[in-house]
């Protein structure tokens, strides 16, 4: 089967969101979740630099790709297998600022892992967020398996799997796309291509410009999208969802984007990229860009922006306060849940 890689262009116009089937409220909701993801992340860096928490790994710069794609899914019905940057995805799927901060401080109440995993290792059975570990690309096979189960039971849930362009070099990425292609599974592979895997640039990761080209080798379409254009991300994902629900199989979406922060709080990005490059990409901030659009279309007025800012700040403040005070696990917690049935050491 020959499939063609499409370039999706950002179309102008002040009612772009409406032409995509999004109400004004939905458009604002997308904006607010992007803002919340960013605000939580910024607060985490602040706290980390004050020495109050050991580790941050960021979504900053990639919120458009994350919230735009997730917004085309049905939280709690569809499934996501996110990777560590996907704060925007899991917030859209029902995690809260408090959940994020509980994980950041590794508290007992952390719903992802009860303080066992580093921040960014999301998971909630209730919210249909598949738990992630640290080895990259393993989640792509899990997503294929989740989708296989949906197909076996003839259910219409769609599963979205997220990963970086570095993770795409792993064998599991190939195995997952191959399997999903063979069985025409309802999987959407979302690559957030931010140009680097820690320090290694895309040119040392692959010999091609567009990862999306690989989709042809698996018998399904690959789409390149401007990852900093949240509505474009929504649009291509909605098309992929429709295709998946029609039983036509997977889509690979490559969202070209950039991370504003170092790889993590333990990285020094000055060793491998120029400050000017970061500055250029900051001009293309997906949140600023979307805010401009929303203002031009008249739905993001000053009072609305103020309300959103207040709500976001309040959530972050409350979440931080709550999580920092929340109890740690006890030493006894070390031994529990090695197995589902009871504590086996």
């Amino acid at each position: 089967m020959a499939t063609k890689t499409q370039e999706v262009e950002a179309k102008g116009g002040q009612s772009r969101h409406r032409s995509l089937g999004l109400s004004d409220d939905q458009a604002l909701r997308i904006y607010e979740v992007m803002r919340l993801a960013r605000a939580i992340d910024e607060r985490m860096w602040l706290i980390n630099r004050q020495g109050r928490a050991p580790f941050v790994i960021s979504c900053q710069g990639q919120e458009g790709a994350q919230v735009g794609t997730a917004a085309a899914l049905r939280p709690g019905h569809d499934w996501v297998a996110p990777y560590y940057r996907d704060a925007g995805v899991i917030l859209w799927f029902g995690m809260t600022a408090r959940d994020q901060m509980l994980s950041f401080f590794a508290r007992r109440e952390d719903p992802n892992s009860a303080g066992r995993q580093m921040p960014g290792h999301f998971g909630s059975r209730r919210l249909h967020i598949v738990t992630g570990g640290s080895p990259v690309a393993t989640q792509l096979l899990h997503a294929a398996g989740v989708a296989l189960a949906s197909k076996q039971r003839k259910e219409d849930a769609v599963t979205a799997a997220y990963f970086g362009e570095g993770a795409a070099s792993q064998g599991d990425c190939h195995e997952a796309m191959n399997f999903a292609g063979i069985h025409k599974l309802a999987v959407i592979f979302v690559c957030e291509n931010n140009g680097y895997a820690i320090s290694v640039p895309q040119s040392r990761q692959m010999a091609i410009q567009n990862l999306a080209d690989r989709a042809a080798g698996y018998g399904f379409p690959g789409v390149v999208v401007d990852g900093n254009d949240v509505l474009a991300c929504y649009e291509v994902t909605r098309q992929a969802v429709e295709r998946a629900r029609r039983g036509e199989g997977p889509t690979l979406i490559e969202a070209k984007t950039y991370r504003f922060t170092p790889h993590s709080s333990d990285d020094d990005d000055k060793r491998y990229r120029q400050a000017e490059e970061v500055a250029i990409w900051r001009q293309k901030d997906p949140i600023q860009r979307y805010a401009t659009y929303l203002r031009e279309s008249g739905i993001l007025t000053d009072p609305v922006e103020r309300e959103i800012t207040e709500r976001v700040d309040q959530q972050v403040d409350e979440a931080t306060e709550y999580a920092e005070q929340a109890p740690d696990p006890t030493p006894d917690d070390l031994m529990t849940f090695v197995y589902k049935q009871g504590t086996v050491s």
């Binding site: 294929a144 398996g145 296989l148």
Partner: protein, 327 residues
């Protein structure tokens, strides 16, 4: 009750579990049309269709990774690794993912899945069709590892593994598939994971084994009896969680223990069994605990002289047991 081989018992176990529970399915290389390279799933593709018996691509990480995802979403997969020797490409998915889902989510996620793998030597399989993997995987908390040696245990433990809420590595010794026959009870006959079984009572010494070595130990015990030595044979059946009580009980009863496995020696299961006995039955010992194992070479060679030199056999068990009895 009927006489069956190990492979028949495994096939029947899968068939009955698939009939009982529509969420049970099989995925692996050649398991469909072909019925598996050992015919473990012979007839199941025809009976249950291509989405209950899935011919996977030739990719072990895919087999296990997809099984994990399906288990997340309400299914009970049985993932077949064609030979234990080819499990390495799936180790990341097994060790870093499957074994940790429950722990890393404090019980929010659990994976009811079975990974079946034909293992062991004595079949002229050479380096890459003879390996033992129980020590490697027994070392991984979060996994359960079983290694039955009889048809009844194979069927009963397979059923327990399918119904278990956690990932179970189910090791089927290739040499036993058609060599070992035995009574298999009608009906469910579930054998609990984690329980060893005394396959022969004795008073002078204890032979502890599993898999093919169980059969060899039983044959050795028969010959020892002719020499007036009463050997007890304890079949571990489950490697992890190991049945500490049964090990300690037989050690206390006879005071002399020989552990036998074909897996390589260093940090093998015998070392763990010996440590358990030292910790809990030291006072009852009448002799140093002994072990008879495969040698510390990378794997079993093809040439029959070298293969025989690698594998523990009845004669060697007999010689070692007599040395122990005379101590």
């Amino acid at each position: 009750m009927a006489q069956k081989t190990v492979i028949e018992a495994i096939r029947e176990g899968m068939d009955e579990e698939m009939a009982r529970d529509p969420s049970v399915f099989l995925i692996g290389e050649d398991v469909g049309q072909r019925g598996g390279v050992f015919l473990a799933s012979d007839g199941l593709y025809k009976k249950y269709g291509e989405y209950r018996v899935i011919d996977s691509p030739l990719a072990e990480s895919c087999v296990v990774g997809v099984a994990i995802g399906a288990a997340v979403n309400g299914m009970r997969p049985i993932a077949e690794i064609q030979f234990a020797d080819f499990i390495a490409p799936a180790m990341n998915q097994i060790i870093e993912e499957a074994a940790r889902f429950c722990y890393r989510t404090a019980g929010d996620f659990n994976l009811p899945m079975v990974i079946r793998a034909p293992w062991g030597g004595g079949v002229h399989g050479a380096l890459y069709h003879s390996q033992s993997i129980e020590a490697t995987f027994g070392h991984i908390p979060g996994l359960k590892v079983v290694a039955p040696g009889t048809p009844a245990d194979a069927k009963g433990l397979l059923k327990a593994a399918v119904r278990d809420p956690d990932p179970v590595l189910f090791l089927e010794h290739k040499r036993t598939y058609r060599l070992v026959k035995g009574e298999v009870p009608d009906g469910d006959g579930v054998v609990p994971i984690g329980k060893a079984d005394i396959k022969r009572e004795g008073t002078d010494l204890s032979l502890i084994a599993y898999g093919l070595m169980l059969t060899y130990c039983l044959q050795a015990a028969e010959k020892l009896a002719a020499d007036g030595i009463s050997a007890e044979v304890l079949d571990l059946r489950t490697i992890k969680p190991i049945d500490q009580d049964a090990i300690v009980a037989t050690a206390k009863k006879t005071g002399k223990v020989l552990v036998v496995h074909e897996d390589t020696r260093f940090a093998g299961i015998a070392a763990e069994v010996m440590a358990i006995i030292m910790e809990h039955a030291f006072d009852a010992l009448d002799a140093p605990i002994m072990r008879l194992t495969g040698p510390d070479v990378p794997a079993m060679p093809f040439n029959h002289v070298l293969e025989e030199a690698f594998m523990p056999n009845v004669d060697r068990i007999l010689a070692k047991a007599k040395e122990l009895a005379a101590y």
